[in-house]
Subunit: 420 residues, 2 copies
């Protein structure tokens, strides 16, 4: 029988005792930010748990990593510390353990209703890297921009292509996204278009949060790369397609992306995802030895994107995809990222790139769904080619088990017009 908490958790909750994702929150608007884990409809305040001396394992006993405004210090402690915290918290929250269950005073201080708290960016992001690891997405975009013959560039099957993103504009779910201004392709001999983007898009992604880093000059072995991942979040890599199309040759995307990237507040650990691991797609050609892993794994994480236009009651699901569609695994991404000696640091995030699947309804962005504005997408009460002001985009992700769900909550953002 599945482990059970003394806290009531609804059967469809994303946050059963098997999950315990980490985040950072403020219980009151005036409180200092502090780490917490989600359990059912509550957030467990880890600063209170630490103050009460309940982190009593050998690594975390005297650590101040739970008295910090972000998780970076816990992340830097490495996998043994993360495992210890998980074991401690799963025990503390279980139905058979009296320490917290029977301590009304501590429960009162440490368990805060989730709908009362403000969730914050859980990490100070050092560097943000974005990969391009869905073959379906690469093929669709390539077909649109370079034709079906040159759809996927020859390097794509040999290495997980990536670029550096902008760390400063990574924001937490719920933050409004201001429609960016910028340049677009000139038509004829006119100067380039300039104004608010006319092709604002979402990108359905997930991101790995780097836990322990590596030293400059010392690559991470692909078979040990999982130990560097603290967990995963949902990510929306908002994109202005007209800005991106005009600027990206020859140095890649820049202002078409850097106006905002939204992540979900709860970092789900690899331990919680373990029961949902599955085989990664077969790779042909075989990857070079530094990318060839003993076991190549993905996770079966169902992903959905909904759009809710302003003034429309119901949202519409526009994408249904799955993390398992990724061609390059998270561990291959890390091995590739560091093969040149590049150092990762705790709190770095590695985006997967848009996760599109093979089915028409599994395309992970409007660029693909509307085929660059050539098709119209029907929503309840509206139609779209790209996003309009007032549109809210909500990403959800979860692993469905027989006895419980491991969920990521939501990653949402609403489009607002540019400042005057």
């Amino acid at each position: 029988m599945a482990l059970k908490s003394f806290i009531d958790v609804l059967p469809n909750s994303h946050f059963p005792i098997q999950n315990l994702p980490f985040g950072v929150f403020k219980p009151e608007p005036s409180s200092a930010p502090r780490p917490g884990v989600a359990i059912g409809d509550y957030v467990l305040d880890l600063s209170e748990i630490a103050s009460a001396g309940l982190f009593d394992g050998p690594i975390l006993k005297n650590s101040d990593c739970f008295q910090q405004p972000n998780l970076n210090k816990l992340l830097a402690l490495g996998r043994p510390a993360w495992k210890e915290s998980r074991i401690t918290l799963q025990k503390l929250l279980s139905s058979t353990e009296p320490k917290l269950r029977d301590n009304a005073n501590l429960r009162q201080k440490a368990l805060v209703p989730m709908n009362k708290v403000e969730l914050l960016l859980p990490i100070a992001v050092g560097d943000y890297t974005d990969f391009f690891s869905s073959m379906h997405h690469a093929k669709n975009c390539g077909t649109m921009f370079r034709g079906p013959e040159n759809a996927i560039p020859p390097n794509w099957f040999h290495l997980p292509i990536a670029y550096h993103g902008r760390a400063s504009s990574v924001v937490i779910s719920g933050t409004d996204i201001i429609r960016p201004r910028g340049q677009g392709y000139p038509s004829g001999t006119s100067p380039p278009y300039f104004g608010p983007t006319l092709k604002l898009d979402y990108e359905l992604e997930m991101a790995a949060v780097v836990g322990s880093g590596n030293e400059l000059g010392k690559p991470v072995n692909v078979n040990e790369a999982a130990d560097h991942i603290f967990g995963l979040v949902l990510m929306n890599d908002w994109s202005a397609r007209d800005i991106q199309a005009w600027e990206y040759v020859p140095l890649g995307p820049f202002l078409g992306k850097s106006f905002g990237t939204t992540i979900s507040p709860w970092i789900v650990s690899l331990e919680a995802l373990e029961p949902f691991a599955c085989a990664a797609p077969k790779q042909d050609p075989l990857p070079l030895p530094y990318l060839a892993e003993k076991v190549s794994r993905n996770y079966d994480i169902q992903l959905e994107v909904e759009i809710k236009p302003a003034g429309v009651e119901d949202s519409t699901v526009v994408t249904k995809s799955n993390f398992k569609h990724l061609y390059w695994t998270l561990t291959q991404q890390i091995a590739h990222h560091t093969i040149n000696g590049c150092n990762l640091r705790p709190g770095d995030i590695l985006g997967t790139g848009t996760i599109s699947g093979p089915e028409p309804d599994s395309l992970g962005c409007l660029l693909e769904l509307s085929w660059n504005g050539q098709k119209t997408i029907s929503l309840k009460g509206a139609t779209r080619k790209f996003l309009e002001d007032g549109d809210e985009v909500i990403i959800t992700g979860f692993c469905k088990g027989d006895e419980y769900t491991i969920g990521f909550g939501t990653c949402s953002g609403k489009i607002v017009p540019p400042l005057p």
Copy 2:
């Protein structure tokens, strides 16, 4: 007559009282890092000056920004604070001011011989952006890779092209650069090349250090952009040309750059550079209104690159260039970077891109000098197409005035083989 310090400064010193660049250093290996300014052959310890109560201006009087391990806190205070610190320090170090000159005890504590200190990265780098603002460099690289007809892409004259670089691997001058491993183009039907890069290169750049940032969603006006720049440093954006050539389509440079970027330790303020301001090149076509500045300025900064192979006594100057060759100005770069609402933060760095000039000896990297390995470059006691293990690359930069020199010191790094 020029302002003079009570400290002897040799006529050719990079660091007269007119310069006073900011850095961070450790006086002893066991000391905590602290801010300092360079004066002649000494470093003035600003933590000691602050402790002695000598920052007595209205903004800095009670600030702890000089008791920090980096300059980010001072940077965040903005231009009025930077100006106040400069006025205070110029007065304190002048030959007519007795406060420090006649206080033997404080002089003993606060003035440390530069050859005794360890210079550290002066800032915690949030994001590192690299522009592509030299027309000569863009034209040469484009000619090599896409032919003379498509040398400069059509967007280049409309916007200062840039990409996000890697912040974690920005290192201080003097740090060894480990030759990166990676993939290069396959030949024929073989798998891609894999191994240590065969085309290791330097790139002569300078970088603006962002002082005060901007809020997400609020672009910086091009005519106010200079107020966001704390100062400039020399930069070497080490590049592995074979890795870069194979990986960069379609998302731009990644591992070909992210193994290391070296900056010089002393940040020279715009105030110190002001006497060396000069007109920027005429731009044709006229830039869009958000990039059109009332006065468009560069600085006359002479730049040199020397290579010193291992075991060879003398270094050889391989590049003689000048900052004034840049087509896009620093202020246009900032206006463009933020036009989409992207936020800059104190400590961000904005690289200029390789600064090549029009003359054959002013090309800013070996890729251009050797024309991608087709020509051989003669050094004293050696020849090169690309960098070999043991090579030291030393960048120098300075503005030569009638009465004094405003210099940047050096930005150097030695190539070492990859770890086994």
